[in-house]
């Protein structure tokens, strides 16, 4: 689920969690879809606690798996076991059996979708790319593939200082902000958030004789990591490489309020990414505020 990221959803979620919870989790808890069954991964402490709360609020305990923080073969095997457990629980909840062949086909189609998105990527504005990632997260594989077959970019990145965006994931409410950045002369040509290039910069290998669940788990475990992994140097190596490949000349690091995983990284990020760096701290819905706009403008002044 990618939360709506609106002020209303964050406010509603706050009544169910507490003021100290991160804006992303609050918005998820306060979304119109929060009454559905929840499944998710304990990526960070706040996320797993939000999932627990969400399950309770929805009236059915959330199915939560552990997302390993270390990157060892043992951690990978543990993640495979967790995904298998999740599949078993989902089978129980749905009252049916997982169709392994269907899953294998879906893995192949998702690979094709990610490949297509990678091809399109450089022709897309930051907002359009983010919107496609959003769709990819929400649509069944077949529908997304069909959509992409006829999709043509309607706008292209503006001129200016190409930027790498990193930090907290993006919600639909952030798309206007990405357009603002573009309009101000800071097009987001690379997106290292969880809802950006890292979501498509990998392929799930699918040998025919392997359990597709295991294939899926290993593929996701090995994809470009989130900053929550320990140590997270691999994330920065990925981000620096992405910035170089796309010609980014600046970094915007946006942390959602209450998200320690991103809010406590800027000093390392600035050093490891090695580009002019702007750290922003926002709640849902205030990324386009005059306060943030002024800071972006000042940052741009320094780059010209």
């Amino acid at each position: 689920m990618i939360p709506p990221g609106t002020v209303a959803s964050e406010s509603r979620g706050e009544t169910l969690s507490g003021a100290g919870a991160c804006a992303w989790c609050k918005s998820g808890l306060g979304s119109d879809e929060a009454d559905r069954p929840w499944i998710g991964a304990a990526t960070c402490d706040q996320m797993r606690r939000a999932l627990e709360l969400a399950g309770r609020t929805a009236g059915r305990e959330a199915l939560i798996i552990h997302a390993p923080k270390t990157r060892s073969p043992e951690a990978e095997d543990y993640f495979v076991a967790e995904v298998r457990w999740l599949a078993g629980e989902m089978e129980k909840a749905a009252g049916g059996r997982l169709d392994r062949e269907e899953l294998r086909r879906a893995v192949v189609v998702r690979n094709e979708i990610r490949g297509r998105l990678r091809l399109l990527r450089e022709a897309l504005t930051g907002a359009d790319f983010s919107a496609l990632i959003y769709l990819e997260a929400r649509l069944p594989a077949g529908e997304m593939k069909a959509f992409l077959a006829s999709f043509r970019p309607v706008s292209s990145p503006a001129a200016g200082v190409p930027a790498l965006l990193a930090g907290s994931p993006l919600t639909p409410a952030d798309w206007p902000w990405l357009d603002d950045l573009e309009e101000m002369g800071l097009p987001v040509v690379a997106d290292a958030t969880c809802t950006g290039d890292r979501a498509i910069d990998f392929t799930v290998e699918a040998p025919a004789d392997e359990d597709p669940l295991e294939t899926l788990a290993r593929g996701y475990f090995r994809r470009p990591p989130c900053p929550f992994v320990r140590p997270n140097d691999e994330f920065y190596a990925y981000g620096a490489d992405l910035a170089r490949r796309r010609g980014a000349r600046a970094v915007i690091w946006r942390s959602l309020r209450g998200c320690d995983i991103h809010a406590l990284e800027p000093s390392r990020a600035a050093r490891l990414l090695g580009l002019p760096f702007l750290a922003l701290d926002t709640s849902c819905g205030d990324a386009s505020s005059p306060r943030v706009r002024t800071r972006v403008e000042a940052f741009l002044e320094g780059l010209r």
Binding site: A50, E52, I64, E265
Partner: protein, 458 residues
């Protein structure tokens, strides 16, 4: 002459210094007899004037010899670490897991373990004179982060504890603040080993236990490499047996401190006693002697009906340790008494299984860490504690900025309301609570009014 404690009471800093002057040369030894006065026993004034622990001036203390010894043992830890380094022992800084990894270090005499996390009390104890939070702010860990950020600053200014030879960092199902802090420490010039404890859904399954046992084996090998000899299963098994003796002792102390009316030991001292469980304050053997001394003092007081608080004090389970120690005094001064605690390291208080391979036993214990499981499990521990010690209320002392504190209070409140129908009060205690003392006092007073009102109603 045989020393005997004065009648149980709480005393202020000046009276406490005077009590030091009456401390005998011979101390009770475990199992009877006496032993020489511990060499770390120092007048409290020394800690204030030489170490800068100025907060001691405004605290109130238990007046027993055991408490004086307990405080001296706690406050002299850095001296012990420095002595360990001088003697060639390896210092292992253990981060986050609160109770398990130190056992591996203590299995070999060539190593000593401590928790740099404990630096979170320094801003309180030194009343901000040390500037740690300012240093943490400058490093990007501001007020929005748990007070444990002081540990990062203590590594940066290198003024508070010896820099360890090895850091052992537990990550996985841990709080976000600590995870980020450990990542920053990994950038320093100190070897750091990551190990992982996964999130568990309810009781830990065999896969989780096997995974954590494998992780602890990595810790064991790293410790062995550091000290130059293997840490064997036999060494670990022996240590587990000895650690269990301390845990049994702690259980005895908790039962006396929280279960007996009038309370025979103050909240501040019982908090320190519980804290000793996680790493033995850098001296395993002496830790046992200190706790024996406390236990025998409490037994004597309980038998004599002596207490440090009024018999009608409001009995409360306290959730989360406080960064400002003075708040525990305030709680008691206004009419509260501890009737159980949940300080985030329950797994360090329970016996470690002795009938299975030691790494498996340690893995099972690590997985009982309340931080690794659902908030609902931790809420159940609070309820258990309230039932065991007949609590009349629960205080959830939120840790400002801590990721788990953002939502946990709500879960605990609901669970306590559902299972026990006793009141819950949520407060937030900053590292130095002077500016909030009035507000906290009002909250305590209001809460105790509710409890007393319910007594009248019942």
């Amino acid at each position: 002459m045989i020393y005997s404690d004065p009648p149980a009471a709480k005393i202020d800093y000046e009276a406490w210094n005077a009590a030091f002057g009456r401390a005998p040369d011979a101390f009770p030894a475990p199992g009877g007899g006496t032993e020489p006065r511990p060499d770390y026993l120092t007048t409290p004034r020394c800690f204030v004037e030489l170490e800068g622990d100025s907060r001691l001036r405004s605290l109130r203390f238990d007046n027993s010899l055991a408490a004086l010894r307990l405080w001296s043992f706690l406050l002299s830890e850095n001296d012990r670490l420095a002595a360990a380094r001088r003697s060639g022992r390896k210092i292992i800084g253990v981060l986050k897991d609160l109770g398990t990894a130190p056992l591996i270090a203590y299995a070999v005499p060539e190593a000593v373990a401590f928790y740099p996390d404990g630096a979170w009390w320094i801003p309180c104890v030194m009343e901000m004179s040390e500037g740690l939070l300012r240093i943490a702010d400058a490093a990007g860990f501001g007020d929005e982060v748990c007070p444990v950020r002081a540990a990062l600053a203590a590594f940066l200014n290198r003024a508070h504890f010896p820099i360890p030879d090895l850091l052992v960092a537990a990550v996985g199902a841990c709080c976000d603040d600590m995870s980020c802090l450990m990542q920053r420490l990994a950038d320093l010039d100190v070897p750091l080993l990551w190990w992982e404890v996964p999130y568990r859904r309810g009781a830990a399954g065999p896969e989780a236990v096997a995974f954590v046992a494998g992780q602890l084996d990595r810790v064991r090998r790293a410790v062995g490499d550091l000290v130059g000899r293997a840490v064997t299963d036999d060494m670990l098994s022996d240590l587990i047996v000895r650690a269990n003796r301390i845990r049994v002792l702690l259980r005895r102390i908790r039962d006396l401190a929280y279960g007996v009316v009038p309370a025979p030991f103050p909240a501040l001292e019982t908090q320190i006693v519980e804290m000793l469980a996680i790493h033995f304050c850098s001296d395993f053997e002496e830790c046992g002697r200190v706790l024996e001394h406390v236990a025998s003092t409490l037994e004597r007081r309980a038998t004599a009906g002596e207490g440090v608080l009024a018999p009608d004090a409001c009995r409360v389970v306290w959730v989360n340790p406080v960064a400002d120690l003075r708040v525990m005094n305030l709680f008691e001064d206004l009419g509260g008494a501890l009737a159980g605690t949940e300080y985030l390291f329950r797994h360090a208080l329970v016996p470690i299984p002795e009938d299975r391979p030691p790494l498996v036993a340690l893995a099972e214990t690590a997985l009982r860490d309340p931080m690794t499981g659902p908030s609902e499990d931790r809420a159940a521990l609070v309820v258990e504690e309230a039932v065991r010690y007949r609590a009349e209320g629960v205080i959830v002392s939120a840790i400002p900025g801590a990721s788990h504190s953002a939502t946990e209070g709500l879960v605990i409140r609901r669970r306590v309301a559902r299972d026990l129908d006793i009141p819950v009060c949520e407060i937030t205690v900053p590292p130095l609570a002077d500016a909030s003392i009035g507000q906290l006092a009002t909250r305590f007073e209001g809460f105790f009014e509710i409890i007393r009102g319910r007594r009248r109603h019942v």
